[in-house]
Symmetry: C2
Subunit: 471 residues, 2 copies
């Protein structure tokens, strides 16, 4: 068996989720539990938690799927117009044809226009856009190209701790070296360049650090980086000749007042040509998050800046081996970047649906923070963005001992007990990484607000009982 | 840059296709050529060549995409029934939710039932079925798990020559060792177990051969393996403890009289428990080929037999890092394995569409073989199955010299000239592998029959002129 594969860990769908599946089976068999359903707050899966798809996006994809519907009066003209344009970009006007390996041309053009609008006019070139099978695929592919060397010259990839475990998994799979830099929990999980420098300098002793991964807004932390922070990171990458990977899939998910999403691309441009012409950057986006939550379509894109032409050739070659990303996912991505605009027939419904999702998420972010912070032994930073809470939990010494006896991380023990006693499935902090001796879990804020309240109440009761039990 | 990535080659979308793209751009700019369009016969992309989607499949996927259509009288009840069942298997009844990493349960059940019907009742277990992002993804994932070791203990993967270059690409990417066994061109590209043995024994000197890949029906050869051949291969794999990968994506594409598709699974079962309980097998299928040609959906499945439980765990873990395959592709796969049956409303239209595609392909297979064999210096084996011709072409010594001077494979020179002079894009045999000193190209038989005739005439004229030029 491939030892690199064996070393891979992916907590978001790890042992806790397998256990949740077993419990669900038991419930279906009629086995009695202290709860009637398992609530999967382990993964950012909006539709599974009851969020409704954006009507316009589904209309366009349905029209592309079954073009007979283009004659139906029950579909709006603006959706038909988009569907016709996408189909014209498809071989044989069919979603069933392979696309170019880089993705359908007109969709890459729409992505480039979107980025220009988002970044206040900073130019974007469709040739730098690659449509991917979700953001995960883009990130894993770029990493695959960048990794090389053996022993001390093995590529080091710097990732935040806590991180989204796709990163550690991809690094393991490639046999690259994971280089941790710690986010500052005391300061709302912010990124401190001094910590980047410490981490880099230590890593140079045992590998060749070449890549710096940033997740903004943060997963699992929910932190939204300030403009100043991004400038510092870019300056650092420029100084140290690091390739920047900016995971920006939560760019539409910003809730806290005073927080704003700034793309790395925009700030890089505004820092002037010395930076903009030199720093290598890849930025990732997805259909799965934002207000659409279209995870199942596996749609995404990446934009690359200053990627060496030879590397670009290698990238296209590598993508071409899998031929292309799913074309219906590409179509969904098109609607994410090219939604109805004022004056179009579907605009008012679209904006209503979009704002309803985002306003709800903002309310739930605040509610979750407030409720967690009322529980003794729990501390939760503000959920400025994304769709997760990552509270710090106090775990008593007796519980830590019990976990050790079971060769389990203490927060895994905590989450397992939470699951078994309440049916609530969250992911232990150890799956994302955390400072030695601190314990956390990640929970999505996606359940409907009334359900989320009940869930938070249950977690509070569980936590208090847990503290008592192991006091 | 990753040296393994650099070593990857993928001819089906390689330099010849990049050149075809450039020529298309020139044509659009109005630059005059001896032809008015580029015909991409390089890839099995049915819809791009004008094949129409199967109506029923698209109706079901459209219903799943936009469930409001479930109330529409313009969709048949049998399509609605299938759509409701698929949606019930989706989180939140939405194609936009992530599925389980292994794929949606009810679709895996339908795949298992399909396999049982196909194999005359040989049992199939949904737990052994994994839904994948096309067959390519399944093949690459299994290989990733199996590869290990360094130096002489590096994993050897046996592949046919000629092969479909996904195999060589995946092997390069993983740093495994490609072990070639040659198909017998003089015997309709059949597989000879003595050649397998020769290849294996030689490989043992420099690697640890563990995997044996079979493509049946053959790509690019079009050969359909006999029952006897499959039995021999299975016996060989059993003797040598090789993991069998059976690429069976063309299982519906069998044309020649006297030829029949036999699945490795079925033959393995019929060879008795000593084989069936021991030989490790993974078989792959896809939405992209057959009569559906739904390449863009990136739907596929694999069935694994005798995979060690620990390996199964690793497989699910690896799949879970990418979370799931595209859910609309899973839905498309469901219709491939669960089409309308006699008595259902859509049956007659479905069977008419299916047979029309397959009958046309059979006609084109015969036409292509006949026409190629009329050209001096071209020999084409019968196209028993799949959707490609792989004719052998005589290349004169002068042309070989010219190619050498340009550091080009002789058949690449041939295909480049064919493209530049006629607009026809085919893939040189060197991209698939061939015996030293023999030359081929691969061409799909997907263009509509009238167009295919013209194309074959043009190729004939080109070939005769080529022979004259380099005589």
């Amino acid at each position: 068996m491939n030892p690199y594969v064996k070393a891979v860990e992916y907590a978001v769908r790890g042992p806790i989720v397998l256990k949740a599946g077993e419990i669900e089976k038991e419930l279906r068999k009629g086995i009695k539990k202290p709860f009637t359903e398992v609530i999967k707050a382990n993964i950012g899966d909006a539709h599974a938690m009851g969020q409704r798809p954006i009507t316009f996006l589904r209309q366009v994809v349905a029209l592309c799927t079954y073009p007979n519907l283009l004659d139906s009066p029950s579909f709006p003209e603006d959706a038909k117009k988009r569907a016709r344009r996408i189909l014209q970009g498809c071989g044989g006007n069919s979603l069933g044809a392979y696309s170019a390996s880089q993705g359908i041309n007109c969709i890459r053009e729409d992505v480039a226009s979107y980025i220009e609008r988002r970044d206040g006019g900073v130019p974007a070139d469709p040739d730098n856009i690659y449509l991917t099978t979700g953001a995960s695929d883009g990130i894993a592919t770029i990493l695959k190209i960048l990794v090389s060397g053996g022993g001390k010259s093995r590529t080091g990839v710097m990732i935040p701790i806590p991180q989204y475990p796709l990163y550690s998994a991809a690094i393991s799979e490639l046999g690259a070296i994971q280089v941790n830099y710690y986010l500052d929990e005391e300061n709302c999980w912010s990124l401190d360049v001094n910590e980047l420098r410490r981490s880099l300098n230590e890593a140079k002793a045992y590998c060749h650090p070449k890549v710096l991964c940033i997740i903004n807004p943060g997963n699992p932390t929910g932190q939204v980086q300030s403009r100043k922070c991004i400038e510092d990171v870019i300056h650092f990458a420029w100084e140290e000749k690091l390739f920047l990977l900016a995971d920006e899939v939560y760019q539409d998910n910003v809730y806290s007042e005073g927080c704003q999403f700034h793309s790395f691309k925009k700030i890089l441009y505004e820092m002037g040509p010395e930076y903009y012409n030199n720093v290598e950057l890849a930025s990732f986006h997805s259909t799965s998050k934002g207000y659409m939550g279209e995870c199942g379509y596996r749609g995404g894109y990446m934009e690359v800046i200053n990627l060496h032409p030879e590397m670009k050739g290698q990238l296209v070659k590598l993508l071409s081996v899998r031929i292309c990303s799913p074309v219906s996912g590409q179509a969904a991505m098109d609607i994410v970047v090219n939604p109805p605009v004022p004056g179009e027939e579907s605009y008012s419904q679209f904006i209503k649906e979009k704002e309803s999702v985002l306003n709800n998420l903002a309310k739930k972010a605040k509610l979750t923070e407030d409720m967690f912070n009322k529980v003794p032994g729990v501390h939760c930073n503000p959920l400025q963005g994304a769709m997760y809470a990552f509270p710090r939990i106090f775990i008593p010494a007796k519980a830590i001992e019990e976990a050790k006896a079971h060769k389990m991380a203490p927060d895994m023990l905590y989450c397992m007990k939470l699951l078994e006693e309440t049916g609530i499935c969250v992911v232990p902090g150890s799956g994302f990484g955390q400072r030695e001796g601190s314990y956390h879990f990640r929970m999505t804020i996606l359940p409907p607000i009334e359900k989320l309240k009940i869930l938070l109440e249950k977690m509070k009761d569980f936590h208090i009982k847990f503290l008592e039990k192991y006091a």
